[in-house]
Amino acid sequence: MTEQSDERRGGAQVGDAPGSDSAGDGGPGGGSTQDGAPGSGSARDGAVSGDNATGDGSAPDDGHGSGSVRNDAPGSRAGRDDGPGSDAGGDGADGSDSASGDSSPGSSSSADMPARELRITVARTGGVAGLRPSWTVTASEPADVDSWLSLVESCPWNGPEPVDADPDRFVYTIRVLQPETERDAQVPERHLGPWRDLIDRVKKASST
């Protein structure tokens, strides 16, 4: 199986920010920036396979849910880009970046990002199957960034830490990366309520 699921769990996409019904979002550099944005390859490669591989599991925790420390992830691509906004288009046009990127969604740091870029990754663990799919969207168009941000801000990032794990139920890890900030949350399926809209939209945008 390849195309269907690749598409379904695919990597970064643009132009599907919440409230935006433009599929193409023809903003300057829009599409190419997305494709080449650090982590877009990881979203694709790591959708399920990379993170589900034994190697990933046995490696030290890559920081999921560990709080908002920037630029500390293993395999950080810091240094590849000269700075916010630089070479975004060119980087994006170079498909090899995706292939050579690491396969962990948490591997790229927010410091690598263009000034207005926003990346949201949703990873799901648990479930009777024990698989670990993830979905990522990246936005750089101001309107898209603002639109996603308002959705992000509507979530209870400082809510209480949920306790009791439910057997075989899903747990979602949500990570929002911006140039200066990183936010992480782990949300059990049972408490999905206020997060559902964000998660559903990321999934949908990631698969279109």
Partner: protein
């Protein structure tokens, strides 16, 4: 949807649970089981028509010999002053499965619309029928192999909801009922399709009512593993399959044809259930050398469960015969305790050895097979023994 009473009960000509018992008498308000006098056992023994093959077999056996459960109940009843109703109630008891299936209509609202009750004829919905039959097969294993009356040991009615959510890729036990998604159609089909998964989920209920293994780290992996054990045993028991003929696969038939894989997990060969370009390779370790430290998945509960899974399967295959009678019985004895809710693999291994000694003796083949299996997977219980 009619709400027909259980025909086995409705045809009872004498007072049973239907009568109002005095305080202290046996009373089952939810119809979890019936108090069945001997003349009704014959009816239950013919209940195969309702898909209750194993329950019917159990009833047939009860006609021939007292089961431990029956002794227990007769003793319990005999220990207090008897009223006339209690004397009636003192008739031998045979646990009877009580299933209810609901349809969530692809929403996430539970329980959903009731679509099939106990003894109703099959519906036109395969998911409903698979759930119904799977609950029955699990009930039958627990009763037949372990003398356990349903998930809680007290005749808990078994309830399930099918068609949960939209393209929902999971099945789970929510503490009260089983819930099945239809799958997304790309990676997964409907989750009722695997009997081992139904048994797996209901076994989470058994663990909840017994050892209460914390769903985190090694105790969480043991919780997962015990569910896989019961899932595999339910399949083998329903097929009348010996350990050496079993697939030891969990979740066979859930993947669509597009996936390169046989099942979700292999108990006998962890790490080999699938190898797919999108899903990746089955990540389960087969021994302690491959133990995975991770914060995800509650500390890798679905990953490291491969280690105790393999110990179980290795011992069962070495012993041959029906796994639910040998190693399965030991694992069940272990889970009903005494066992710490935060047990480690080594502590659990010790507990299985203690249970094997009690059940089968110090010189038993069961004990030595289980010892060897734990050693093979790198869980050396003797590390702890002083």
């Amino acid at each position: 949807m009619s709400h027909l009473p259980n025909p086995l009960a409705s045809n009872t000509p004498l007072p049973s649970t239907a009568a109002s018992p005095p305080a202290g008498a046996v009373h089952r308000s939810r119809g979890a089981h019936s108090i069945v006098p001997p003349y009704l056992l014959a009816r239950i023994a013919q209940a195969d028509a309702f898909g209750l093959q194993r329950a019917a077999e159990a009833a047939r056996r009860s006609l021939l010999a007292d089961s431990p459960l029956r002794d227990e109940r007769v003793r319990a009843t005999a220990s207090s002053p008897a009223t006339p109703q209690e004397l009636l109630a003192a008739a031998p008891l045979v646990p009877v499965v009580d299933r209810t299936i609901a349809d969530a209509g692809n929403t996430e609202t539970l329980p959903g619309r009731l679509v099939r009750r106990e003894s109703d004829a099959p519906t036109g919905d395969v998911a409903v029928n698979e759930a119904y039959d799977g609950l029955g097969a699990t009930f039958a294993l627990l009763l037949d192999a372990f003398g356990r009356d349903s998930v809680d040991g007290k005749g808990l009615p078994l309830e399930a909801t099918v068609h949960y959510g939209d393209d929902y890729d999971n099945a789970f036990w929510d503490g009260e009922r089983m819930v099945f998604g239809d799958g997304d159609g790309e990676v997964f089909g409907r989750f009722t399709a695997s009997l081992s998964v139904i048994g797996h989920e209901l076994a989470h209920g058994v663990t909840q009512y017994t050892a209460g293994l914390a769903y985190e780290g090694q105790s969480g992996a043991l919780n997962e593993s015990f569910s896989d054990v019961i899932g595999a045993l339910v399949e083998q028991h329903s097929l009348g399959q010996r350990a050496d003929a079993a697939s030891w696969l969990i979740g066979e038939g859930l993947f669509t044809d597009a996936v390169e894989g046989r099942a979700l997990r292999s108990m006998i060969e962890p790490g080999t259930a699938y190898d797919d370009d999108v899903l990746g390779k089955d990540p389960q370790p087969a021994d302690m050398a491959g133990y995975i430290d991770t914060a995800d998945d509650n500390g890798g509960v679905h990953l490291n469960s491969g280690i105790p899974n393999r110990a179980f399967a290795l011992a069962a295959v070495e012993l041959g015969g029906n796994a639910w009678e040998g190693v399965g019985r030991v694992w069940y004895d272990t889970i009903i305790g005494p066992l710490s809710p935060t047990a480690t693999f080594a502590e659990f291994a010790d507990a299985t050895l203690a249970a094997a000694r009690v059940r089968f003796g110090d010189d038993s083949a069961e004990l030595s097979a289980i010892e060897r299996a734990w050693s093979t997977v790198g869980v050396r219980s003797d590390d702890r023994a002083e």
